[in-house]
């Protein structure tokens, strides 16, 4: 087990390095974008003097490396600064958005992961049957449509009849059950979008193993097909499945801006888009780091789980 712990420690350190590199890249990229916050906020009514005064006030007239180092020193002490545009502390700005994003991601994952595992296992069990083909066709259809199209169809069918709200508004007074009800349509949209990937990976990984000699042996012993798959094939198929699930979870956290816009859901995606458009660098940086951290942590979790599921990796010589 100590191997696992040292692996986790090593990976976390590497993760921190990754985050540092990402913060550099993000900073460089926002510097490359034409215009800065002062110009973008003042827009059409900008005059050279007001833009200059605005820059002085925000410290945007300082050289790029000074601004980056100042930001980094603050971030290392846990102070991510304030939004340049409206002076709100970034921690406040992000807190509710992040919890909304996580809520929707967990909700969508709670619907999609069991659903796709179940569909994948059943599809492997009844390989090439009508069920297998129908499940594949449906999942592929829903992943092929753009998200906003799936969202509009769901709104047309489920919201215009009054079953579910088309706007997923959340505020601090929203109770948990109400939140589940309000965000059902966005969660369902995301479920439809991510299910195909996970389901097909589950099916493929299991079918791959079904040709192995030990499965043959289990069958010859007279085990039921369900037992063969659940008890013998599935544990060995976990590694690829867990990796795909982790990738999809990361996507649910970082890539749902279109769904947020269509359902008017206040998550991190829209915050990121607005901040990039207005060149509000500290906010962009903070959100980008959250996204990067989500990828790093979920990948780490996937690796740890696949190691644990494989005795050959735990008991390495």
């Amino acid at each position: 087990m100590s191997d696992i712990w040292s692996m986790i420690a090593r990976r976390l350190l590497l993760g921190l390095l990754t985050l540092f590199v990402i913060s550099l890249i993000i900073f460089g990229a926002t510097e490359l974008l034409p215009g800065d916050l002062a110009q973008n906020i003042l827009g059409q009514s900008a005059t050279p003097e007001t833009v200059a005064a605005f820059r002085r006030e925000l410290g945007l007239d300082l050289p790029a490396h000074t601004r980056y180092v100042n930001w980094l020193l603050g971030a290392l002490q846990g102070d991510f600064g304030t939004s340049l545009a409206n002076k709100r502390p970034i921690a406040d700005l992000i807190a509710t958005r992040l919890s909304n994003t996580l809520f929707l991601a967990v909700y969508a994952a709670a619907l999609s992961v069991p659903l796709s595992l179940m569909l994948g296992i059943l599809a492997a069990l009844w390989r090439n049957s009508i069920f297998d083909r129908a499940a594949n066709a449906l999942a592929l259809t829903s992943i092929s449509f753009p998200e906003f199209f799936v969202a509009y169809i769901l709104i047309f069918v489920l919201a215009q009849s009054g079953l579910f709200p088309s706007m997923a508004r959340m505020d601090p007074t929203t109770t948990f059950s109400e939140a589940l009800y309000r965000t059902f349509l966005p969660a369902l949209t995301l479920t439809l979008v991510v299910t195909a990937h996970m389901m097909r990976m589950t099916r493929a990984a299991i079918i791959n193993l079904l040709a192995s000699p030990y499965i043959e042996m289990a069958r010859l012993k007279g085990m039921s097909p369900a037992r063969v798959i659940l008890k013998h094939a599935l544990p060995n198929a976990l590694a690829p499945i867990v990796t795909v699930v982790a990738l999809n979870l990361a996507y649910l956290i970082t890539g749902v801006v279109v769904v947020e816009v269509v359902f008017v859901y206040p998550g991190l995606g829209q915050l990121m888009v607005d901040s990039v458009a207005k060149r509000d660098f500290p906010v962009v940086q903070a959100v980008a780091l959250i996204f990067a951290a989500a990828y790093v942590l979920l990948n780490l979790t996937a690796d740890v789980l696949s190691t644990l599921s494989n005795p050959r990796l735990i008991h390495r010589k």
């Binding site: 009514s45 003097e49 007001t50 545009a85 409206n86 709100r88 215009q160 709200p165 829209q270 607005d274």
Partner: protein
């Protein structure tokens, strides 16, 4: 002339809608006679969805730029003056004002007994500090250019005196600009992050880019205003999501309505469309220094070579009015209603071409949807109609990205949009005076410039009106801008919303004041 808007600001279409909703179809009276709904009454929570609003929005009035903050802070704050629905100016924090004979010194008397939400009284010092926030070398304010002519502000008890560098009869109008709210001050400075204000609504919570909740200010001084008990404002960027929210009853008002699907919304039960003629207009600008636009006969030929009504019908889906090649809207104070309307007339266009010594004309028109929604289609329609007058108009489709940097002010003939300004002087000085940076036709007319200066400091209404009429006429018959249409502000709302017949056209949402002017019937 389907859907030609009345000067009162309601389209016939919305009037019919409103009348049908009242169960009075067939009884259609001219706007101004019938109230749009029953008498106002107090109560209810208004839920509104707007297409504007960023997570970068803030409290500092120097940086307000999205329509969401404009509406939110207009509900929260008071201004020295207010533009009434009919375009005239009324006092808000200021009770009255008077000018010196040269219109260069203005004295505002503040209304007694107005308090902020915090309970503090509004004082003359607050006014000075509030305006000074936008002045001076350190100002980053978007409103700095409009307060630039102020050389000094002094408060004496309940009066505030502004000294200007030159006479300006419209100065009190400038004080209604949404950047210039009166906020509480200490030691001659306002706190630009304060939530306080002296308007009809108090901000309970505001999540920039998401929405805000407001409650009625129980001590609001203004009679007959602020009917709703509370307001829920939402930022809904996606036009389909906005429309869905209105259709499913999750919001009461949406702004704006997507014109490509407005017909579907019109048919929905319980929903009315409000269309208000404003100052927003779409133009085709010709560089009057370049050939062949140098010759006014060519400019006149082009002005007679496009079908304005067709553009209003097909590009604006009827939600607009035809323009007459000057930037003054039909809702404005000195609009010249009797000026001869330019209309599609290939024979006249040919006549002007002949005057210019030409049999035919072959030119390029640059357009992109960045100029205005439907600009490319509008240019194509223009080109089709101009062919009959012997004008070959080649439409050049420019990229949206960088349109304002690479095409506007660079190409000799291109599509442009203008949001318009509340006063004639403001609009003309910004884009039509000789040599100003946004004069996109590089037009210069000595008589026009002379009238502009004279009218600015003229306090006699009749003389001023005459001058502005003459300027509109010069602009239309000599200027380099073709203004085929004024685009209305189009909003969708539940038929439970009541408002006055006359809805302000200076900005969208009743001049940003729908929250305090409208009510539930």
């Amino acid at each position: 002339m389907r859907d030609h808007l009345t000067r009162g600001g309601l389209s016939r279409r919305s009037l019919i809608k409103g009348a049908t909703a009242l169960g009075a179809a067939g009884l259609i009276l001219p706007a101004g006679v019938r109230r749009a709904a029953a008498e106002p009454k107090r109560g209810g929570i208004l839920r509104i969805a707007q297409a504007a609003g960023n997570t970068t929005d803030g409290y500092d009035p120097a940086t307000w730029d999205s329509q969401f903050v404009q509406v939110l802070h207009t509900a929260r704050c008071g201004y020295l003056t207010e533009i009434a629905a009919d375009g005239s100016l009324v006092g808000e924090v200021a009770e009255s004002w008077e000018a010196s004979a040269d219109a260069a010194t203005w004295t505002f008397k503040l209304r007694e007994g107005i308090t902020y939400h915090s309970g503090k009284s509004v004082s003359g010092d607050d006014v000075v500090a509030s305006i000074n926030h936008h002045r001076g070398p350190d100002s980053k304010s978007a409103a700095k250019p409009i307060v630039e002519p102020i050389t000094d502000i002094k408060a004496d008890g309940n009066t505030v005196t502004f000294t200007l560098s030159a006479g300006n009869a419209d100065f009190p109008f400038i004080m209604s600009d949404y950047h210039l709210p009166i906020l509480p001050s200490a030691d001659g400075k306002i706190d630009a992050t304060t939530k306080d204000g002296c308007g009809g609504y108090m901000i309970d919570s505001w999540e920039p880019g998401v929405g805000a909740k407001l409650t009625r200010n129980p001590n609001y001084w203004k009679p007959g205003r602020a009917w709703f008990d509370g307001i829920e404002m939402n930022v809904v960027l996606d036009s389909a999501a906005r429309q869905n929210a209105l259709l499913t009853g999750e919001v009461d008002v949406i702004d704006p309505v997507d014109l490509t699907t407005v017909a579907l919304l019109e048919r929905a039960p319980g929903i009315k469309i409000l269309s208000v003629a404003g100052t927003q207009h779409y133009t085709f600008a010709m560089d009057t220094r370049a050939d062949p636009y140098k010759d006014n006969n060519v400019r006149m030929a082009l002005k007679y070579a496009l079908d304005r009504q067709e553009l209003v019908d097909k590009i604006l889906q009827g939600y607009g009015t035809i323009g007459n090649d000057h930037p003054i809207g039909p809702n404005q104070r000195y609009f010249y209603a009797d000026l001869e309307q330019h209309s599609y007339d290939p024979d006249k266009a040919k006549f002007y071409l002949k005057e210019a010594g030409l049999d035919s004309l072959s030119i390029q028109l640059s357009a992109a949807d960045a100029a205005f929604t439907g600009a490319v289609d509008a240019a194509v329609l223009f080109s089709e109609k101009a062919a009959a007058a012997g004008i070959t108009l080649e439409v050049v489709r420019e990229p949206n990205d960088g349109y304002w940097d690479n095409v506007w002010l660079k190409k000799p003939f291109c599509a442009v949009y203008w949001g318009g300004r509340p006063t004639e002087d403001w609009m003309f000085s910004m884009t039509y005076a000789t040599g100003v940076p946004w004069n996109d036709t590089f037009w210069s007319n000595a008589r026009f410039d002379e009238l502009l200066l004279a009218a600015r400091s003229e306090l006699d209404e009749d003389k001023r009106r005459e001058m502005y009429h003459e300027m509109q006429s010069i602009c239309a018959n000599d200027g380099g801008t073709i203004i085929p249409m004024f685009a209305s502000y189009v909003m969708g709302m539940s038929d439970k919303i009541g408002h006055e017949d006359r809805v302000a056209g200076n900005w969208t949402l009743d001049g940003f004041r729908a929250l305090e002017r409208w009510w539930f019937v």
